[in-house]
């Protein structure tokens, strides 16, 4: 199943590149598109800024591409993901449904509040998004997309807090040692975006 999907996507991407120089040839149904969004993430931790660019190919009403973004909800991350979307409607303006899946790469900030005193490390996690949007066609080459989605990202923070070995009041036993612990972040957000597709 995964293998078949991979082959389909690979063929589409290959076809898109092969169509770069021949977009006016009607026989070529694959077209390269770039979708660039800005957005607002809303979740339990408040609001956060979101940016993403998705570049890929369209075949009839289907689009697939690779995306990269900036997600500053709780810990700042760089999501790298695969995007698949389907357009509906026969008018120039279309409703679309889309889904993203990929990896979050943690990008540290000075103001990040780490949860462990020592050996604090944040591991990369999963990034996913499911949503719907509406595409207004401005002209033959450009559209504006409004979309709303459920966005999900995970991270794992590991580290060691120092604990006294019991009984702490005794010499020798008073040595304290780091204990490995893990914090799992499963972050659920609503993401409202506006973007330009060309």
């Amino acid at each position: 199943m995964y293998r078949r999907n991979f082959i389909i996507i690979a063929v589409m991407i290959f076809a898109a590149f092969s169509c770069f120089g021949q977009q006016k040839i009607s026989m070529c149904h694959f077209q390269f598109h770039s979708i660039n969004n800005v957005g607002l993430l809303e979740g339990q931790a408040g609001s956060a800024f979101h940016l993403q660019t998705i570049n890929g190919v369209q075949y009839k009403s289907w689009f697939t591409g690779a995306g990269v973004g900036l997600d500053s909800y709780r810990y700042r991350t760089i999501p790298l993901f695969l995007d698949i979307r389907k357009e509906f409607g026969k008018t120039p303006n279309k409703i679309l449904l889309f889904g993203d899946a990929g990896i979050n790469f943690y990008w540290a900030r000075d103001r990040d509040v780490k949860q462990f005193y020592s050996n604090d490390k944040i591991k990369n996690g999963f990034y996913g998004e499911l949503g719907a949007g509406y595409k207004f066609r401005l002209n033959a080459k450009m559209s504006i997309i409004f979309s709303g989605s459920y966005s999900y990202k995970t991270l794992e923070e590991t580290g060691g807090d120092y604990y006294y070995n019991m009984p702490f009041f005794l010499p020798g036993a008073a040595a304290y040692s780091p204990v490995a612990e893990r914090i799992h972040y499963n972050l659920n957000r609503v993401l409202l975006k506006v973007g330009v597709e060309f």
Partner: protein
Amino acid sequence: MINTVQPFYIFQLMLLMLSGCMKDKITKTYQIRTPVYEVLSQFRESIKSQPAAEMSATGKIAVAGNYIFISELYKGIHVIDNSDPSHPKNASFINVPGNEDLAIINNTLYADAFGDLVTFDITDPLHAEAKNFAANVFPDHSIYYYSGADNVNPDSINVIIGWTVRDTTVDYEPGGSVYPVYYAANCANCATIAANLSSSVNTGNSGTSGSLSRFAILNDYLYAVSYSQLRSFDISNKFSPSYKNSFTVDWHVETIYPFKGKLFVGTNNGVYMYDAAASPSNPTPLGAFTHVRGCDPVVADDDYAYVTINDSSACLGFNNELQIVNVKDLNAPSLVQSYQLTHPVGLSKDGNLLFVCDSKDGLKIYNADNVNNLQLIRQMKDGEAVDVIAMNGLAIMIAADGLYQYDYSDINNIHLISKL
């Protein structure tokens, strides 16, 4: 178009409203440790000789006959067969959880085990046998017994000998703190131990202890110093020491050194001298020599006491020096001379030779004929020197990384003969 767009706007509105329902799921995974108990009397059965163990955190040192006894801090005592000093053998290990100090006389070894005093028969040093447990005689190191409690019955006291560890996951709010849970409560008479469950030989008469020792044997008495107290035990019945007395010396008492009926007690603030000849169970205070604050092992001969002071953080000191104190009149000791050193610790005196462990600078050997002008004969930089016993031409030095032995029978050719 309106018909198409309308549902989308409604969708976005719904999403915006739903954002209030979006909850992050954040969990923290950590370890819960549950204690494993054993009755104290049963636990004591593990206090005996075991196969030799690797030396790692060595502490006090004592020599008896052909054997060297080295405390492994809070775990037990290494027994080194030193029949051939050029080839010492780590022969066995006496498991004594909570051990810090030891003293030896004839075939009897006294060692502390947290608050208890354990008496071993070391007729065969490789198979030491615990003969007696004097319960709670060092209450400031005690963990078996509740403070002020009368119950010292080992059959009714539980000891924590280990922990079973399992992971657990709980909801977590970043910024808060979740701590591992140690279930040591709800157990009357429970104690916790940093446990390491892990041929007739002539051992001579009284063993010789290092200058860092907190135990000293003088005649039929064992003297032990703790944080502020000096305690005396009658050991005329060698396998059944009898606690006699205790009194306050000073705060932060560190070492005790016996010499010709006198006791020299080193503290952070100075050296206190006691006469133990007249009243051995309750030594009589003599003079005191106070100095700047610092850790201070002490040894003495007929005329002088040799005191090292170092700046270990535990002693709140700032000086690193050797002080020589005139103790011809024990009631009026006076400073003779001071020598700056790097970080002096243990020391030993044999005849006119003074051996000083100067930590990373190694072992320094002085000609002490003239205390006003010590002459450095040799400096042995083999290890980070901690304590030394020098006698009969053999200097036995405990260092951070093991046991070193030097032959000084010819002071012009002092040399390392073994390292263990």
